[in-house]
Subunit: 345 residues, 2 copies
């Protein structure tokens, strides 16, 4: 009947980042508070993960907002939903022993008590640095790989347009496309970023999409039209790109970073005539729908990293205190590459 | 060196419907004129088709307008592009003998001089009435069949929403869906039409989409959401249907009949968040992209007609004089079923 003892070798408290009010649009630091909770005891089949890298992802905006999304919004008062890389420090599950590193749904907190359903991948620490498993070998690499090849289905000679081309996903799409000799064009949100698109990320040409109106940018960059549009922004760029798609073109909707508010629903140029007359295929991408393809994609991505053929950038800050403002920082475009929060090994 | 003689048993003249000015939006009778031309002589490999049924199709609007479409616009001064059922009356091609009935690109005129590339299907007059080959066994049946099954890919238990549900395509989609036990809901443009959706065309429920605003109609008709949206209208109905698609839903864009003007481009509710968060797939359908699937689809459709399992309606007027106003009549919704112009056997 006594309270379970605090596990050995662990501090007795779990620092957590709590969603304290419901944002409309992009969550700011003021929408979060910190608390500290006692460590929960484990039920049979559970294990305790100590987080090492917390992931910061554009999708977290959608998880905090009311309304249409692919998952229920994070309840106000709950730990902020997040992917993370961590290590098992206590286990009541035979297949998940202490010391195993994992990537999964562990939240913005020091410790998570979870079962196997929260695990996305098991980490092989021999293959690549731990942080890579939260980005290039995690949601970002999988999104780039499966969005490009499975949904985009490029054919020889195709022109591929990518938005947020210097970001954690776009920087990989450019390199993966270049490696297979596609003509890949990037749009990024500032001058330093678009320069890296061509110098580091495989893009044949790139531009700062804030430097001119969407129509004239695209007239210059893709004068012969677009076969595959890998879109992370939505908005005007999407409206104009739709009008430049070639017959049979594929649009992969991976994000909507350029639309800051969805309530009330903003308007744009009607799309149905573009879809119909040039027989486009416009698909929404959530990488977790394609988990059966993860092993093949990760094997290819891991091989490319180990052979030095795939550059990836990480923007790492240390300490849980950085978490509340991290999503807004991402939408401001102040990160360079994959945004991570390091909590210590 | 003499002029070729007028073929035997033929009148010496070909009455033609000429596009005389470029419409913006829906072509009216005033955009056409009649002329009469001498019969051309045949080159080797050509044959002369005497038209029996001219087809009137919503797609003809797009063929007459400037701007984005899947084919070059009909030049002003040319015969109006159209599908038709006809019979070969003179031939210089061994595989296309005199007396053979064909469905193909023969234009709004009495006689067409064409080669094999203008032929869509060869007609077996034993299987079904001639007129059927211009509709249920022509572009309309193929569009319904391949749009529903190949692009829509319904699964057991799916809810399918169809616009212009009593039209030449929609009336077949309803029956094909019902025959495989899908829950199929129709929207039509007047009260008499929507009543026929449930009494004749297999729909579980239907409504006149002009009887209420799109949002409240859909709230009532598809309260649990839509798996497949077979859309012939575009516009507000599409905007509202997009917001009611279930995760993984498919939108088949087959027409845009509810949008009367595309210049300047009208605006509507932004779609990218709907596409992304519920991973929709929105595809444009032009049935001629899928010609490799025609034989299988036609075999199934022909079997259903011969066994009395597929109702189809035809709205036939007699005489070439009806052609110029026929497209506008279609967009006004004054036709009941497939619109054809009969020129005599």
């Amino acid at each position: 009947m006594s309270t379970p003892a605090t596990p050995r070798n662990l501090p007795g408290r779990n620092r957590r980042v709590i969603l304290s009010s419901r944002p409309v649009g992009i969550p700011q630091a003021s929408h979060f508070t910190f608390d500290e909770a006692s460590l929960e005891s484990l039920a049979e089949g559970q294990f305790r993960v100590r987080n090492i890298y917390l992931s910061v992802d554009p999708a977290q905006r959608g998880w905090t907002n009311e309304g249409s999304n692919y998952s229920q919004p994070v309840p106000v008062g709950d730990v902020m939903r997040a992917l993370a890389v961590g290590v098992i420090v206590e286990s009541r599950h035979a297949e998940f022993p202490e010391g195993l590193h994992l990537y999964g749904w562990f939240g913005w907190q020091d410790y998570a008590v979870v079962g196997p359903q929260a695990v996305v991948t098991r980490i092989d620490v021999i293959q690549a640095p731990l942080s890579a498993y939260a980005g290039v070998l995690g949601i970002n690499g999988l999104t780039a790989y499966l969005g490009l090849f499975k949904l985009g289905r490029p054919k020889a000679g195709d022109t591929i347009l990518v938005t947020t081309a210097a970001g954690a996903v776009g920087s990989l799409v450019g390199q993966l496309a270049q490696a297979r000799a596609f003509h890949v064009i990037g749009l990024a949100g500032d001058d330093a970023k678009f320069a890296r698109c061509t110098s580091r990320f495989g893009y044949a040409a790139a531009a700062n999409y804030k430097s001119a109106d969407a129509a004239s940018l695209l007239d210059r960059l893709v004068p012969d039209g677009i076969d595959v549009f890998f879109d992370n922004t939505g908005g005007d760029l999407l409206d104009q790109a739709l009008r430049r798609m070639k017959t049979g073109g594929r649009i992969v909707q991976c994000g909507t970073a350029a639309v800051s508010q969805w309530s009330p629903t903003p308007t744009g140029l009607r799309a149905e005539r573009e879809i119909l007359t040039r027989r486009l295929i416009w698909s929404g991408l959530l990488v977790f729908d394609h988990s059966e393809d993860f092993p093949g994609a990760l094997a290819d991505l891991t091989g490319r990293i180990r052979s030095g053929m795939l550059h990836y950038e990480e923007d790492i800050v240390t300490g849980l205190l950085h978490a509340p403002g991290a999503i807004a920082r991402l939408y401001d475009g102040r990160n360079n590459g994959k945004s991570l929060i390091y909590l210590g090994e």
